[in-house]
Symmetry: C2
Subunit: 374 residues, 2 copies
C-alpha cells in the first residue's frame, strides 16, 4: 500500500515517489493546509486544477468540530470531505501548545480548553493516535512536545526527551496498516540534542521522519544548521517532512538538505490578507500603484488567476471585501508554491537543482518585493 | 451586433436567442448578480462551468468603488473583470432609492451619500447613462423611480410619470451603438397605470422592456395580474426583463407570462446564509438533522457540489465559517436556478412548458421545504 522510491539524487536533494493508499505523491512536495477539512477559500476541484497532490488537515480543529468520531462514521476524512488524494494529519500538539494559558501539561499529556467554547479536552499520545486513526489520513504524526524558541536549554532537552517517550507510546498505540505514522525529531537548535532525538526515534523504526520545532522563532542560519546536521543521520530511504516551513527561500534551502515534504499556511493565509508570492518577490495587492494596473499579478505565472485577472481587478475585489478575491489570490499563491515544487523536482531529475535554486534565489533577491522593482 | 429571435412560443412562454456583442443568451435566462464586478464567493470559471451566460452588475456599487471612469480606462466591465460573456448593468436607481434618509429626490434626479464613506453623489438620467456607457455592459437600463409598495396611489402615479420623463432623457443621452438600452415600466400594482407607463415607453421605441417595481412588497396575485396585463401590451418581438424576481415559483409563473430575462440575489445570498434551493424545496444546511447525512444536498441535482459534497460536510464547513462553504452552496444554488431555466427553455421548445411548470410546482408544493419531507 505504501512505498517510497527515490528516482534521483542531485547533491543532497532527492526526487521521489511516495505511494499511499490514496495515490502517489511526487516529491519534493508541498501540502496545502486544509485546517478544518477544506483549504480556505478554494474547492477541491480548484486544488486539483492547480496540481495539489496531498493535503494537510489539522487534528486539533477537526477534533473540536465536527469531532473525530463523526468523521470516522462518515468514512474518515476521505469519505467526509470528498478529497480523493492523500491526506496528512498533524497530531494536534502544535495547536494545543499554542494555547498559552488554556492548557496544562504533564508526562501523561495535555489538558486544554477549546478556543471555540471553552470545553475541556485531553490530548495524550494514545488519544492523538486514536483521533488520527478515526480521521483516517494516509500519513499521521506522532504526538510531540513543541516549544516556542528561544527556550532555556533544559526545557528544550526535557521536551526533546519527552517527545521520544511519547513517540514510543504513539508507536505502541497506532494500529492502522493503511496509515504511515511518522516520528518527529525535536531538540530546538541544539545539534547534539537533535542528533540524540533522531537516533532515539530511528530505533523505533518509523516509516518516515519529520523535523518539528523549527520556524518557531529561531534565526535562519540556526535552522539551516539543524537541517544540514540531520541530513546524514536520517535514513536515506525514508521520507522526510519539515513541518510548517516556510517562505520560498526557506523551501529552496530545505530541499537542498534532502527534505521531501512540506506544509505551510503562508500561501493561503497571506492570500487572504492580499499578499501575493511572485517570481520576483511579494506583491501587496492593496497597494495604490495597482489601481489601474492591467498586468496579471505575475507576468511569468500561468495560473488560472494570472491568466484572467489584472492587478487592478484583484485590488478592487480585495478592497471591496469580495470573497472571490480570497479565492483568486489563494489559487495564485498555491499555484506559485506547487509550481515551484514541480520545477524544483524537474531540476533534480535533470541534475540541475543547484542552478535552479540559484536562479530562483537570484530573481527573489534582485528585488525586495515586486514593488521596489517596477 | 444585436438581435432577438424567438425560436418558439408555447402558450405565452417564449424560447429565444438574444445576440449581444459578447455572445448569445438563450432565453428565458437567469442572470446571476455580480454586484461589484464579481458574483460573491465564485469565480468566472465556476460560473462558466455551471452554464451562466450573462451576468448583472450594479451601477451603484461600481460607481462608488472602483469608480466608472477607472472601469472605462480598464476596458469597461469586460476588460476590467475578464468576464467574456454579456453583462447587464442596472441604472443604480434601485439601490439609491433604498438608501432611506441618505438621499433627496427631485425632478432633476437624486442626491445621495455613499454608504461606504458618506461622500455625496448625484444620479440623474443623464449621469446614469454616462456611467453605464463607461461601464460598457451589453444591456443597460433606464434610470427610473422605484417606490417600495404599498405606497399612496398618487405617489405611485407621480413616480410612474416621472419614470417616463426620465426614460425620455435617458434615450436622448444614451449614445453607444454597442449597448441596448432597455426602458422600465413602472406603475405599482395599478393596471391602468402600468398600461399607461408601458404605452408611453413604447413610443420611445426601446429595443427591450423591463418591468420594474415588483417584488417590493406587493401580494403575489397582484404581481401576477400586472404580468398578465402587460404581456399583450409589450411588443412580442422585443425582449422582456422582470427585475429582481424571485423564487423558483415566481420564475415559473413569470416565464408563463412571456418574460425572457431575470435576475435575483436569492440564490447567491441565501447560499451564503446556508439555505439551499432543491427540487423539493429549500434546505437549511445548519439543521442538526444533517450532522451525519451523507447524501448530497439534492439527490436529483448534477451540480459540481452535489457530485462531491455531502450535507454533513457542507454543514460542517458552514458552521466552521469556512469560505469554501459559501462557494460550494453558491455553486449549487446558481446551478439549480440555471438548470431550471435550461429545462424550462427545453420544455418550451418541445411545446411542453405547461407540463414542466406543473410538475415543478408539484414537487415544490408536495413539501414545504425538504426538511418536512424526510
Amino acid at each position: 500500500m505504501f512505498a517510497f522510491a527515490i528516482e534521483r539524487r542531485d547533491e543532497r536533494a532527492r526526487a521521489a515517489q511516495l505511494a499511499t493508499p490514496h495515490g502517489v505523491v511526487e516529491t519534493p512536495a508541498f501540502m496545502p493546509v486544509g485546517t478544518a477539512g477544506a483549504v480556505k477559500a478554494v474547492t477541491f476541484s480548484q486544488l486539483g486544477e492547480i496540481g495539489a497532490q496531498i493535503l494537510l488537515a489539522n487534528t486539533y480543529h477537526l477534533l473540536l468540530r465536527p469531532g473525530d468520531e463523526i468523521v470516522a462514521r462518515m468514512g474518515g476524512l476521505h469519505g467526509f470531505t470528498g478529497w480523493r488524494g492523500p491526506f496528512l494529519t498533524d497530531s494536534g500538539g502544535y495547536q494545543v501548545f499554542s494555547l498559552a494559558g488554556l492548557r496544562t501539561l504533564d508526562e501523561e499529556g495535555v489538558l486544554f480548553r477549546s478556543h471555540l467554547d471553552g470545553s475541556p479536552h485531553r490530548l495524550t499520545p494514545e488519544r492523538a493516535m486514536q483521533i488520527q486513526m478515526n480521521l483516517g489520513a494516509d500519513l499521521v504524526m506522532a504526538f510531540d512536545e513543541c516549544l516556542p524558541l528561544p527556550a532555556p536549554a533544559e526545557a528544550v532537552a526535557a521536551a526533546c526527551d519527552r517527545t521520544t517517550r511519547w513517540a514510543r507510546r504513539c508507536r505502541a498505540e497506532h494500529r492502522r496498516a493503511d496509515q504511515w505514522l511518522l516520528g518527529i525529531v525535536q531538540g530546538g537548535t541544539d545539534l547534539a540534542l537533535r542528533e540524540r532525538s533522531a537516533r532515539e526515534l530511528l530505533e523505533l523504526e518509523f516509516p518516515g521522519y519529520a523535523i518539528g520545532g523549527l520556524a518557531v522563532g529561531e534565526p535562519k542560519p540556526d535552522r539551516e544548521q539543524v537541517l544540514a546536521h540531520l541530513d546524514p543521520i536520517l535514513p536515506e530511504a525514508k521520507p522526510r517532512y519539515l513541518m510548517g516551513v516556510g517562505t520560498p527561500e526557506d523551501l529552496l534551502a530545505a530541499v537542498g538538505h534532502g527534505i521531501d515534504l512540506f506544509d505551510c499556511v503562508l500561501p493561503t493565509r497571506n492570500a487572504r490578507n492580499g499578499q501575493l508570492f511572485t517570481s520576483r518577490g511579494r506583491l501587496s495587492i492593496r497597494n495604490a500603484r495597482y489601481k489601474e494596473d492591467q498586468r496579471p499579478p505575475d507576468p511569468d505565472c500561468g495560473c488560472p488567476t494570472c491568466r484572467t485577472a489584472s492587478r487592478a481587478y484583484l485590488r478592487h475585489l480585495h478592497l471591496a471585501n469580495e470573497m472571490t478575491a480570497a479565492t483568486l489570490l489563494t489559487i495564485h499563491n498555491l499555484f506559485h508554491y506547487l509550481d515551484m515544487f514541480r520545477r524544483m523536482r524537474q531540476s533534480i531529475l535533470l541534475g540541475r537543482f543547484k542552478e535552479f535554486r540559484e536562479g530562483a534565489l537570484h530573481s527573489l533577491s534582485a528585488a525586495s518585493g515586486v514593488e521596489s522593482q517596477e
